[in-house]
């Protein structure tokens, strides 16, 4: 005993340093090599400490703190690591809120560190004081304020553990300026792998697995719905094997997109509001619905009171609070998808569902005829469509790029028509639908995967929400391709006004600047395409260009996205026109 004690005392050598230096050390020990942020008064000691560790940790200064959060999100989505942001107190901290909310809804692991006014000034309405812990409570998985240097390592260790474990999410650590300055003795950093009140990984229930397998094995018309959980749990192999062994058609939510290649014969397309015809209609015809790591968002279910009522529902989910939240599960299978799928694989029979798959093909043919054909190959006298642009991008990049989308019509089109060949290749704002997400998120994605092609697909509206992040591309030379689909409208809102507000176009007309000049101002190569004949060539130039490139394509102003499930309608009432 004695020996052990002295040994552990020996390894626990203490180092004296400031709280700020300790924080930076903790980040390095957590494996952080890249972080995104913006300096200011209350976080200056940390920036000073970063200056000493420039060779170990790269700080990317975005042009707005919101940009830092989305960049960290893009980074996290592609790398699977925790995205990290840094901001000052007050306005710096409040600028993080949109990104925190986005990461909370889309279960993105993120740690945001904010500076706070000195402890003795808290509560006095000091300069740049905001109660960010209260403000961010509703949009974080966990948050904490640290007022003493010695408490920093513990808080950081917990923050990283909570952000990445269980259902991942954003965490905020608010550190007072005096705690950053304060010099203390620090022991060797220890990561956290357990919190006594927190059960990130529910234990698999053998009974639930058996019940699920029984249902799956006896199903005649089963349908798999897959979401972000498949990607988050790294269940690439398990999921594909499960789909192939059971022979069950699988449809994706936009957060699950790219967990199974688009061209996979059992991939039957997109669910929800602008999803494909077949999987939506057949949701209300299947006999067993197997939801894998998805949470039945209302954009997926339409009217829940008329959603899959005929089906037995199996729900593979890590978060107990999601079970029966929107859709009742007959067989809830609590656990990490990767583990549940692996366990189920041994219990399900090898099968084919050819007849059932024919139903998908029939409905696909209808969608092809009514929607897709014209979207991908418009008549010569029609303006360019977003769909045809994406088709060329998809062909020329061979489906190998990481597509980062903003929010609106172009988002739906990119996800519907890009043929994703690779795992984790779709980065989008799903739950919050945050315009302005794509540009910074694409920057983050490229930092996470420097050897992959990263294409941001953005509308003329959303581009202008975080356009200042072109400054990051300018400064760091990060090779992000920007595809601007310009319809001179807030397209998605215009579509709703067209369909549901008697075409009363209220505040959707975009009076746009000269985007080419803006790109030039930031030293980014660019071109604008207005004619179909030049489209393919320009896409080749765009994708082959060394370094970032802005390709602006003028597309049909009043094209609408179909199919569509109008709000309040049932999935089986999806409209083709």
């Amino acid at each position: 005993m004695e020996e052990v004690a002295t040994k552990s005392q020996k390894t626990k050598a203490k180092t004296t340093m400031s709280g700020a230096a300790a924080l930076v050390n903790c980040l390095i020990r957590e494996g952080v090599e890249t972080l995104f942020g913006y300096p200011g008064g209350a976080i200056m000691p940390v920036y000073d400490a970063l200056f000493d560790q420039k060779d170990k940790i790269k700080h990317i200064m975005t042009r707005h703190e919101q940009g830092a959060t989305h960049a960290a999100q893009g980074f996290a989505r592609v790398s699977g690591k925790v995205g990290v942001c840094l901001a000052t107190s007050g306005p710096g901290a409040t600028n993080l809120i949109t990104g925190l909310a986005d990461a909370q809804l889309d279960s993105t692991p993120m740690v945001c560190i904010t500076g706070q006014v000195p402890g003795k000034m808290i509560g006095s309405d000091a300069f740049q004081e905001t109660d960010i812990v209260s403000i961010s409570m509703a949009v974080t998985k966990w948050n904490i304020q640290v007022t003493k240097a010695k408490d920093i390592p513990n808080a950081v260790a917990k923050a990283f553990f909570i952000a990445r474990s269980g259902k991942p999410g954003p965490v905020l650590v608010d550190i007072t300026k005096d705690a950053q300055f304060e010099v203390a003795d620090f022991e060797e950093y220890e990561t956290c792998d357990q919190i006594r009140s927190y059960v990130p990984n529910p234990k698999l229930s053998e009974k639930a697995l058996d019940d699920a397998a029984k249902l799956i094995n006896s199903a005649k018309k089963p349908l798999i719905l897959f979401g972000h959980g498949v990607l988050l749990s790294n269940a690439k192999k398990e999921f594909q094997e499960f789909v192939e062994k059971t022979g069950i058609p699988a449809a994706w939510t936009i957060m699950g997109l790219s967990a199974l290649p688009t061209s996979h014969p059992l991939n039957v397309g997109m669910l929800g509001m602008h999803g494909n015809y077949a999987p939506n209609i057949l949701t209300n015809e299947c006999d067993v619905l197997i939801a894998v790591g998805m949470r039945f968002d209302d954009r997926v279910t339409g009217d829940v009171s008329r959603y899959a009522k005929q089906a037995k529902v199996i729900h593979l989910e890590i978060d107990p609070a999601e079970i029966n939240k929107n859709v009742e599960a007959d067989v809830p299978v609590l656990g990490n998808c990767k583990e549940s799928l692996a366990a189920l694989l041994n219990k399900v029979n090898k099968k084919k569902h050819d007849e059932w798959l024919t139903r998908f093909k029939e409905l696909n043919a209808q969608e092809e005829e009514k929607v897709i054909k014209n979207e991908l190959n418009p008549q010569a006298d029609e303006p360019m469509s977003m769909g045809e642009v994406i088709k060329h991008i998809s062909n020329i990049s061979r489906g190998n790029a990481i597509i980062v989308t903003d929010v609106g019509q172009h988002q739906m089109v990119a996800q519907r028509y890009y043929k994703y060949a690779n795992w984790k290749s779709n980065v989008t704002s799903g739950g919050l639908g945050t315009m302005g997400f794509a540009l910074p998120a694409a920057i983050g994605a490229k930092f996470a995967a420097p050897h992959r092609q990263v294409i941001a697909v953005i509308g003329d509206g959303g581009f202008q929400m975080t356009i200042q992040e072109l400054g990051v591309i300018f400064e760091t030379k990060v090779d992000v391709k920007i595809l601007l689909l310009n319809n001179e409208f807030l397209g998605m809102v215009r579509q709703w006004q067209d369909m549901f507000f008697e075409k009363r176009y209220s505040s959707v007309d975009m009076v746009n600047p000269d985007f080419q000049m803006i790109a030039k101002g930031y030293g980014i190569a660019s071109e604008k395409v207005t004619e179909r004949e030049k489209l393919e060539d320009s896409i080749h130039r765009f994708l082959n260009h060394e370094g970032s490139y802005l390709l602006e394509v003028m597309v049909g102003k009043e094209n609408n996205i179909f199919p569509m499930i109008p709000t309040g309608a049932s999935v089986s009432e999806i409209r083709l026109e």
């Binding site: 812990v133 509703a138 919190i195 009140s197 059960v199 978060d319 609070a321 079970i323 939240k325």
Partner: protein, 177 residues
């Protein structure tokens, strides 16, 4: 159908958790009827007792969302027949009233209330019981002149015999996996 539910929530003793818990009710537009917080039988673990009226379906979802909070160990809900519960009320009356008439003293006795403090100018009466009981005493004392009245939140103990300590051990073990 709306009914009254009592939630017992066991948490770490940390700043801000109560806020996290109460916002879950706010989001779902559920008014908190009463709330109390105290240390539980397990050292360093706090217990909130929250009374609300809602449907069982909503309460089930809320309990899961509360339990989802990192620093919450366990949350339970009970209908009124599943718990033993009490509230306490204090009534402040002018002392001269009690000395002038026998009426007030009679009411206090009838209700099994007790005198908590008697000062030259005021007297504090204490009564524990169900809300209806403390309310009835209030109604009867009121015509005589109540200077101040306060009622605590509900505290409750559930009837099932499993101790929280057992759950606590379960959660702690599960957290290690």
């Amino acid at each position: 159908m709306k009914e009254q539910f009592t939630l017992s929530i066991y948490t770490e003793n940390l700043i801000g958790i109560l806020h996290r818990v109460t916002t879950i009710f706010t989001r779902r537009h559920i008014n908190i009827e009463s709330i109390t917080a105290s240390e539980s039988e397990v050292k360093d673990i706090h217990r909130y007792t929250i009374v609300v009226s809602s449907t069982e379906d909503k309460i089930k979802k809320i309990v899961k969302q509360i339990e989802k909070q990192v620093d919450v160990f366990k949350a339970f809900y009970h209908k009124n027949d599943g718990i033993v519960y009490q509230e306490m009320a204090l009534y402040k009356m002018p002392t001269k009233l009690l000395s002038q008439t026998k009426e007030v003293e009679y009411i206090v006795r009838k209700h099994h209330a007790r005198l908590l403090a008697v000062e030259p100018d005021f007297t504090i009466i204490e009564k524990t019981g169900f809300k209806e009981e403390t309310q009835e005493l209030f109604e009867q004392l009121k015509p005589h002149g109540i200077l101040e009245f306060v009622r605590s939140g509900r505290i409750s103990i559930s009837k099932p015999m499993k101790e929280f300590q057992e759950y606590f051990t379960e959660v702690e073990e599960a957290s290690r996996m």
